[in-house]
C-alpha cells in the first residue's frame, strides 16, 4: 500500500493529477462526494514553485465531508448542507496545508456522521474496498475506502463512537481516534461534543504518527483542546502489560474475528509483552449510555440547521415555524431525526433523571473501571468490531442492529481515551479484521509505537 513517503520529493502536480485520476477511475466505490481539483492543482503548482514547503509538501489527502474546507461544498452528506460553501477551513486542514499537504476531495459519510455503515448518506452509500456488496463501515466510510484503495496515503475522519475505528477495521487500514481534546475540532460539523474527536486513516502506524504530530495541539479556537502533549515515541515498547477485555471475546462475537484477535494476542506475547484477561462488567451497558448521551448532544448541536442563516431553506414554508420544521424535515435523513427526537425525549422534563442523568452517572462507573485497569495495565485490547463488514442493506431496517456494530468502540469514546484500529488479518471470505488497542488518556504515542512494532513488513 502507498505511504506518505512515496509522495515526497516528487512533482506535486503529478501527485495530485495521479490521485485525481485514481479517484475518478475508482468512482464506482462512491467513496468521494466531491473533488477539489482546481484548488488542488493551484496548490500543487505553488508547492512545485517552492512557495509552500513542509513535512507533507505535495502529499495528496482527503477529508471527510464534515470538515469545512475550501474548493468544494461541505455537505456533511446531507441535503440541508448540499450547497454549503464553507467560509473558513477547519484548523486540522489548515495545519496540514501549512505543511504542504494538498486536499484533493471530500469523502462520503453517514449524514452528520450518524451511522455505522455510510448507508445514511443523502447521496448514496460507499462500497467496501474488498467486496462491493458490503458496507464501508461508518460513519467515516469514504475516508477509510479512499485510503484502502491507495487513492491517497491518508485521510481525515471524525470519531464519536467508533466512526474512524470501525470503518478502518472493515477496510484493513490503520484508524486513529486520539485522546479527547488532542486535535482541534474548530471547523468540523459537531455531532456530540463530549465525545467527538478528529483522527486519521493511514496505511501504517508511522504515517499516523506523522499526521498526529502535525494536527495535534492546543487551538485557541477550540477551548476543549488539551495543552500540547503528543510526541512520537521512536523506541520500541518492551515488556508491556496488556489486558484483553474478556467481555469483547464472548460467543456473540464472530468466530473468525475472535480467532484473528487471538493470533494478534499470540504475536504480542511472542514480542515479550504480558497479556492477561481482564473484565469490564459495565462495558455491556456502554451502548445504552451512548444512545442516551449522544442523541441528547445531537439534538442540541443540530438545532442550528434551521434554514435561516445557511443551508437549504424549504420553499413551501410560509411562516417562520414552518420554515424551521419543513427545512429540517426535508434536509435531514431518518437517522438524524431519530437521534434528534430521542435527544429531545431524554432531555425533557420528567425523563431527564431517568435517562440522561442515569447515563452520565453510569458513564462515571465505566470511566472508573478504565482508570482501575490502567493502574495495572499499559494497554487494553479487543476486536474493533464484532463482525467483519456486513452486507449493504443488512442492518438498515433495524436501528438497534446497526448500533450494535459500535459495541466495542463506544466505551473508549465515552471515557475520552485514545484507541486505534490495527489491521490484524483476513477472513476466509477475504474480508479484513482489525483489533482495537485502547490506551490511557494521553498515551496516544504509546499505542502507535506498539502498533508500529507489531506491523509485518
Amino acid at each position: 500500500m502507498v505511504k506518505i513517503s512515496d509522495f515526497l520529493n516528487k512533482s506535486a502536480k503529478d501527485n495530485v493529477l495521479k490521485a485525481l485520476a485514481d479517484a475518478e477511475s475508482k468512482s464506482e466505490y462512491h467513496a468521494l462526494l466531491s473533488l477539489t481539483r482546481e484548488r488542488a492543482l493551484e496548490r500543487a503548482e505553488a508547492v512545485d514553485r517552492g512557495d509552500i514547503s513542509g513535512r507533507l509538501a505535495g502529499v495528496p489527502f482527503v477529508v471527510k465531508d464534515n470538515f469545512l474546507a475550501f474548493g468544494a461544498p461541505t455537505t456533511a452528506a446531507s441535503k440541508i448542507l448540499e450547497n454549503f460553501e464553507a467560509p473558513l477551513q477547519a484548523t486540522a486542514v489548515e495545519k496540514l496545508e501549512a505543511e504542504g499537504a494538498i486536499c484533493i476531495g471530500k469523502a462520503n459519510l453517514d449524514a452528520f456522521a450518524h451511522g455505522g455503515s455510510t448507508e445514511n448518506s443523502a447521496f448514496g452509500p460507499t462500497m467496501n474496498t474488498y467486496d462491493k456488496d458490503r458496507v464501508a463501515g461508518g460513519s467515516s466510510g469514504g475516508s477509510a475506502v479512499v485510503t484502502a484503495l491507495d487513492i491517497v496515503p491518508f485521510a481525515l475522519g471524525s470519531d464519536t463512537g467508533g466512526s474512524i475505528r470501525q470503518p478502518a477495521s472493515f477496510n484493513g487500514v490503520v484508524g486513529v481516534k486520539p485522546t479527547y481534546g488532542t486535535v482541534s475540532r474548530y471547523g468540523v460539523v459537531a455531532m456530540a461534543s463530549s465525545t467527538d474527536v478528529i483522527g486519521m486513516f493511514t496505511t501504517d502506524a508511522e504515517d499516523a504518527e506523522l499526521v498526529m504530530d502535525i494536527m495535534s495541539g492546543r487551538d485557541a479556537k477550540d477551548m476543549t483542546t488539551l495543552p500540547d502533549f503528543f510526541s512520537v515515541k521512536n523506541e520500541v515498547p518492551l515488556n508491556l502489560k496488556i489486558g484483553v477485555i474478556s467481555e469483547s471475546m464472548t460467543d456473540s462475537v464472530d468466530l473468525e474475528v475472535r480467532s484473528i484477535t487471538k493470533s494478534y494476542i499470540e504475536r504480542l506475547k511472542e514480542a515479550g509483552h504480558v497479556v492477561e484477561e481482564v473484565s469490564m462488567p459495565t462495558a455491556k451497558y456502554s451502548l445504552a449510555m451512548y444512545y442516551i448521551i449522544v442523541p441528547a448532544e445531537v439534538s442540541s448541536n443540530l438545532a442550528r440547521y434551521d434554514g435561516v442563516r445557511f443551508g437549504v431553506r424549504s420553499k413551501k414554508a410560509k411562516t417562520l415555524s414552518e420554515l424551521y420544521g419543513m427545512s429540517r424535515d426535508d434536509g435531514f435523513m431518518t437517522e438524524n431525526k431519530r437521534r434528534i427526537m430521542i435527544g429531545s425525549y431524554v432531555l425533557s422534563s420528567g425523563f431527564f433523571d431517568a435517562y440522561y442523568l442515569q447515563a452520565q452517572k453510569a458513564r462515571t462507573i465505566l470511566c472508573n473501571e478504565f482508570n482501575e485497569l490502567f493502574t495495572s495495565y499499559d494497554i487494553l485490547i479487543s476486536p474493533t468490531a464484532p463482525t467483519p463488514a456486513f452486507k449493504l442493506g443488512e442492518n438498515t431496517e433495524d436501528p438497534i442492529k446497526m448500533y450494535m456494530s459500535d459495541i466495542m468502540t463506544v466505551p473508549a469514546s465515552l471515557a475520552g481515551l485514545p484507541a486505534i484500529n490495527v489491521p490484524a488479518g483476513i477472513t476466509e471470505l477475504g474480508l479484513p479484521v482489525g483489533v482495537q488497542l485502547i490506551g490511557n488518556r494521553r498515551d496516544d504515542a504509546l499505542l502507535l509505537s506498539l502498533a508500529k512494532s507489531m506491523e509485518v513488513k
Binding site: P87, T224, V308, K318, G325, D329, K361
Partner: protein, 96 residues
C-alpha cells in the same frame, strides 16, 4: 415495552422543530419505542451516590482575553451564504 403514542411523537417533533409526514410519525414511533426499550437496561445499574460525568478533559474555566476576534471572516461572506438576505440582513418570513 415502552409505550409511545403518535401524539408523543408529534410532541417530540414539535420540540425538535421537525414537520414530519404521517408516514414518518408511524415509522419513528416504532423506532423510538425500540431504542428506549434498549436503553432502559441502564435502570439495572445501581448509581446511588455516583456523580455524573459530563466531560472528560479535566479542563476547567478555560479563559480568553475579552477582545473581539472575527477569525478572519468577513461579515458579507457570512450574509452571502444565507438562503435569503436583503440590505446586508438575513431575511425570514414575518414572525408576528
Amino acid at each position: 415495552m415502552t409505550q409511545i403514542s403518535r401524539e408523543d411523537v408529534q410532541h417530540l417533533a414539535q420540540l425538535s422543530s421537525l414537520a414530519l409526514s404521517d408516514q414518518e410519525v408511524d415509522n419513528l414511533r416504532k423506532d423510538i419505542a425500540g431504542i428506549l426499550d434498549y436503553v432502559d437496561q441502564l435502570q439495572e445499574l445501581d448509581t446511588t451516590g455516583v456523580d455524573p460525568t459530563y466531560q472528560v478533559t479535566d479542563l476547567e474555566n478555560v479563559w480568553r482575553d475579552d477582545v473581539i476576534d472575527d477569525y478572519g471572516i468577513d461579515r458579507d461572506d457570512l450574509i452571502a451564504i444565507a438562503p435569503d438576505s436583503s440590505n446586508g440582513q438575513i431575511k425570514v418570513p414575518k414572525v408576528l
